[in-house]
Each structure stands twice: as C-alpha cells, then as structure tokens.
Amino acid sequence: MKATTPALLLAAALLSTACGEGRAIFNVDVYSFMAGTGSDTVPYAIPPATSATASSPAKEINLPPGFGSSVIDSVHITGTANLVNTAGTGTIGFRMYLDSTSAGTLNPSALAINLTPVNVSGNATAPMTIVGDLSGALKTLFTRSSLWVRVEIIGNNPGAVPVTGNMVLTALQLRVVIQDKLF
C-alpha cells in the first residue's frame, strides 16, 4: 500500500460506480499544478532569422487511480496564455506534451497539442487561446494514476532583432470523459 495514494479520490471514484453505465467526467485543473512552480512560464529568446524552441520543466499531474480497464471517451483541452513579448517581431507557437514519465515528454510521440503560431511584436502582450482534443494512444494515459505534462513554445523570427519574452500560462484545463469501468 502506498500512503501517497490519493485515497480520497479513489473512494470517490469507487462510489462513482453507483452511476452504473454513466460516465465519469474529470475536470482537471492542470494549471493549478503548474502555477508557481516555474512550469507555467516559458521564457523565449529567438535569434534573428531562425526558429527555436523553449520549454518548461515537465510537471506531474495526479489522477484518480483504478481506471486501468476503463475506456477513455475523450480528452478535451482548453486554456489561455499570454505571450508577453518584450522585443522583436515573429510568431510563437504552443505545444503540449503528455507522457507517463518525465523523460517521455521529450519524445515527439508525446505531442498532444500543436497550436497555430500567434504573431508577436515589440513590447506587447498577445493573448493565446488553447483548444484541442487528444486522440489515439495519448488518451490512454488518463487511465493511469498520474501523468507528466510539458509545455513548449516554438518561435520563428524572420526579422533582424531577437524576439524575446515569456509565454505565461493563465489557465489550462482538461476534461476527461471516461466510460466508468472501475472493476
């Protein structure tokens, strides 16, 4: 027995069997796990006439255990971020990686979201809306009791001045719909 097991969640999840054939829906506030840890902010500095990536440290997200045999119906991601640009003109894209291990989030196969780049310019803040749905193998990660998330930005600088700034997450939520198969 692991004392670290979030037993409260598990008990609640077990009680959700009362819903019979109903679904278990998890609204996971990923941002709350990342805020204040440094994982919610990604500094970027893109030299002139290049493309570059920058990333935050991977962060572990706890989920209710016991859904190993469940079927994940869908995973919908929503969120917002601010691109707090301090200099230069270019585009900043947003990527999110999910995996069962911290190191696994570095693999290309862990790519969960790849948003269309947003234009940034000068000393200004550009809002970014994060919306996406997971598909395929990544959905099965949510049958685990925890997963790791890593946020990456990819910047493109066509100009002659370095593009610098910070991508600051302001909200990131997952809505996981599970066909309840606890036993």
Partner: protein, 456 residues
C-alpha cells in the same frame, strides 16, 4: 489499498438497501399480495410470539400445508442469462464494457425468483470530478441519493434449530441462536463531501465509523404456551387469552466484535506537498479466546400474549428480553493503519478479560379481523432488532376467488404497496401477488409479480 477501499465503498453503497430486502422477502404470493402481512397463524407470528405456539391453526383459515413458489423470474433470468454462457455473460464479467456492478447487486437484492414486471431503473447519470492541485469536488449527481444520511447496515437474530420435547403446554428444547449486526455511518465531512458535493478540505479526516458484531451459540430453553382463559366461544373455539413465555440460558460459542473509524486524512495540499492523503484506521476488535474453555453465558426470555374473540385476534410477543452474554475470556486487539510500515497492523490491547454483549430484543404486534362476509383485514409491526416494518393488508373472498391488497412501510421508511388475487379449487390454490419495492439503487419503485401454488 484498492481492496480496502473497495470494501469500504461497497459497504457504503451496498449495505444500505440490504435490510429491506431480507426483511420483506416471502415465497408466498398471498402474503406478497397483501403488502407483506400474513393473515394466517404462521411464519412471523409463531417465531416472535411465544403464545401463538398454543393457538391452533384456524379451521378453514387459509393456512396452507405447503406453498410452492412458481419461479417465473428464474425462467426469465436463465433465458436472458443462459447457464452455459454465464462465463461470458457481461452481467458477471467485470471486464465487459456492459458490466454494471449496481445491476449485479440489484439482482442479488431482488433475487429473480419471481418476475420483475417493472424494474427499478439503475442510476446511469454522469459523475463529475473537479481535480486541482488543492481542489477536489465530486458531484455524484442523481446518485447522491445513494449516500446514506444516517446509520445503515444489516442485522438480525435467528433461531438456527429448535429441538425438544414437551407436554401440557410446557416444552424443553435446545435452540441454536445467531445474532449479527453490522452498522456504519459516515462522518459529517465524508457525508457532505459525497452527498452535497462539498469541496475536499486540507488536513481533514474523512471516515466511516463502523461497528460489527457476530455471535452464535445454543440455548437450553424452558417454555410455556397455553390458553389461560377461554373466550366466549367456549373451549371448542379458538377464543380466549393465550400466554406464552420462555426462559433461556444462553451458551455463547463464539463472538467477534469490531468498532472504530476508518478512512483517510488529507494533507496540507490535496495532490501535492509533503503531507499526502494518508489512510486512517483506528479500530478495536474483541473475540472470545477459546469456546472449549468457556462459553459466553447469559439469561433471557420471551413473552407473548394473544387474545382471540370471535373475528378479532390481537397479539404481542417479544424475544430475547434481558439477553446479555458475559464472555469470561476475551482478547482485545487494536487494528490500525501503520503509516511507518504503510500497512494495516494490529497489536494486543488486553487479553483474558471479561466482556459483555447483548442480543437485541425483537418483537411483533399483530391484529386481524375476520368478518363474516369473507373479508379479513390485518396488520403487524415487526422489529427484528434493526428497524421496524409495518404491514397492513386484507383479503376479500368470493367463493373460490380471492382479491387482496395491502401497504407496508419498509425499514427505510418507504411506503410499499401490494395487490393480487387467487383462485382455490379444493386442496389446490393458485395465487398471484404484485409488490412494489425499493430494494434497488434507485428512487423509483420496482414491481415484482409473485406466483405460487398452495396445497391445503
């Protein structure tokens, strides 16, 4: 971990409705058609009222020599779930996407002996969890009704055997007895968390307080039952005042008792930080050391009274009055969750001490009125040691035909309804009864159609 919490959750969700099921089930369609009341001098009356053992079966009262249920429900059940395919049946296969533990338990609670003409719907609502680093909200939706407000559990006393001899109203016998009581209640934190969707709090214990007792043994019994006053109808009639009583010396062979809270405690942060959620268990268990060395001893008794005057019949009986057993050689252990070893552990608290247990008093009060027009009405109040059940019903006979109806209030204080009818040709009777029940995990009632053949 999972096993323990599964057991906890199963206890929470599953035990609450059990008591209604076991208290109300009958194989007799006549009784079911009258909402559970029995208008004949059998079953509960003789079990719970010592005086009824002296009251003869009423001539032409409808006491059947044998009642055989017609298991239409079993036929339907095995048609839907062929025996040779049970291994692959989604109903019994937890790996199947169609497996629904609630449906399976409903089947256990409502044994498919009789036909379920209206099934209580199984809750199928979504359950929503809101999870954050320091946030957890569980919205069970319509399934919140399944979370019990008060103490819940199962319990009762049984006479496992009754062998003896008697004469002149006196009887000496040896009875086996068994008593079990399993009760739980949720503490306020857990109840509001699950039932009202309150957010989980930091540094808070969420627990279920449980108490379980099982005891069994045998009891030499000296009893008396007889008519002490004849009634206006004379000795040849049933009229009169009947008294019954018994004195019982209990020899407890074994007992086990456990009491205490179990649950979990949240840390400084719900899903992060140095103090994660920690399982919590702090119970005491009691058990007799060796029945070969000493028995749990006690004295108790039964009383009963029946008054019959023409069409009117009333009675009251109580059992196991004053039955307190003293166990001379008991071991007390503490069962707790050891956070260092990360497992459940136990330790001896004290050994070879004297402890006492009680067998709950059970009682029945009944009344029946037989009119000369073929109408019989009656009712009873039965308490088997854990909750009271009330039945009121009646029967109207038209020659070989009978029409029946009744209501009852079950142990969950829900009103239930019964109706039905029958036809009798000489020694053979065919009866059908319909009965609403709330033994399912749903607010809505189900309806069972019972059919039985009676041999008179």
């Amino acid at each position: 971990m999972r096993t323990g919490v599964v057991a906890l959750a199963l206890a929470l969700v599953f035990l609450a409705p059990l008591r209604a099921a076991r208290a109300q089930f009958s194989f007799d369609a006549r009784r079911i058609g009258m909402g559970g009341v029995s208008l004949t001098r059998d079953g509960n009356l003789r079990r719970y009222n010592a005086a009824y053992r002296a009251v003869k079966d009423r001539a032409a009262s409808g006491n059947a020599k044998m009642t055989i249920p017609i298991p239409l429900g079993l036929i339907q059940f095995f048609k839907d779930h062929p025996i040779n395919q049970l291994g692959d049946d989604p109903m019994f296969d937890p790996k199947s996407p169609q497996f629904n533990p609630i449906q399976l338990l409903n089947t256990v609670l409502n044994l498919p002996i009789f036909l379920e003409v209206k099934k209580a719907p199984t809750p199928t609502n979504d359950v929503e969890f809101t999870v954050g680093k320091n946030q957890l909200i569980v919205d069970l939706g319509a399934a919140q009704v399944l979370i019990p407000e008060d103490q819940f559990g199962i319990g009762g006393s049984s006479r496992l055997l009754d062998m003896g001899i008697g004469a002149m109203g006196f009887r000496f016998s040896v009875q086996g007895f068994e008593n079990h009581d399993l009760g739980f209640f949720l503490d306020d934190s857990l109840r509001t968390f699950l039932k009202e969707g309150h957010p989980a709090r930091n540094n808070t214990t969420y627990d279920v307080v449980g108490e379980a007792l099982v005891q069994a043994g045998f009891a030499p019994t000296l009893s008396f039952s007889g008519r002490v006053l004849p009634g206006a109808g004379g000795k040849d009639s049933d009229d009169g005042l009947y008294l019954g009583g018994a004195v019982r010396s209990y020899y407890g062979v074994t007992y086990y008792r456990a009491v205490g809270p179990g649950g979990f405690t949240t840390g400084d942060t719900l899903f992060a930080g140095p103090n994660p959620v920690t399982p919590f268990l702090d119970a005491l268990t009691y058990r007799d050391n060796d029945p070969k060395k000493s028995f749990g001893r006690g004295l108790g008794g039964d009383v009963g009274i029946v008054f019959i005057s023409g069409p009117l019949e009333v009675g009251f009986g109580a059992n196991d009055i004053g039955a307190e057993l003293t166990w001379k050689d008991t071991k007390v252990q503490a069962v707790y969750f050891d956070t260092t070893l990360d497992k459940v552990a136990d330790s001896l608290v004290v050994n070879n001490i004297e402890t006492k247990t009680k067998i709950p008093v059970t009682y029945i009060a009944n009344a029946a009125f037989r009119m000369g027009t073929g109408t019989t009405v009656g009712g009873d109040i039965v308490n088997n040691g854990r909750g009271t059940v009330i039945h009121v019903g009646g029967e109207q006979r038209f020659g070989p035909l009978a029409v029946r109806g009744g209501v009852s209030r079950d142990q969950r204080k829900k009103m239930q309804f019964g109706w039905g009818g029958g036809v009798r040709f000489g020694p053979l009777g065919l009866d059908v009864g319909f009965w609403t029940h709330s033994n399912s995990f749903a607010d809505k009632r189900g309806v069972t159609m019972a059919t039985s053949i009676s041999l008179y």
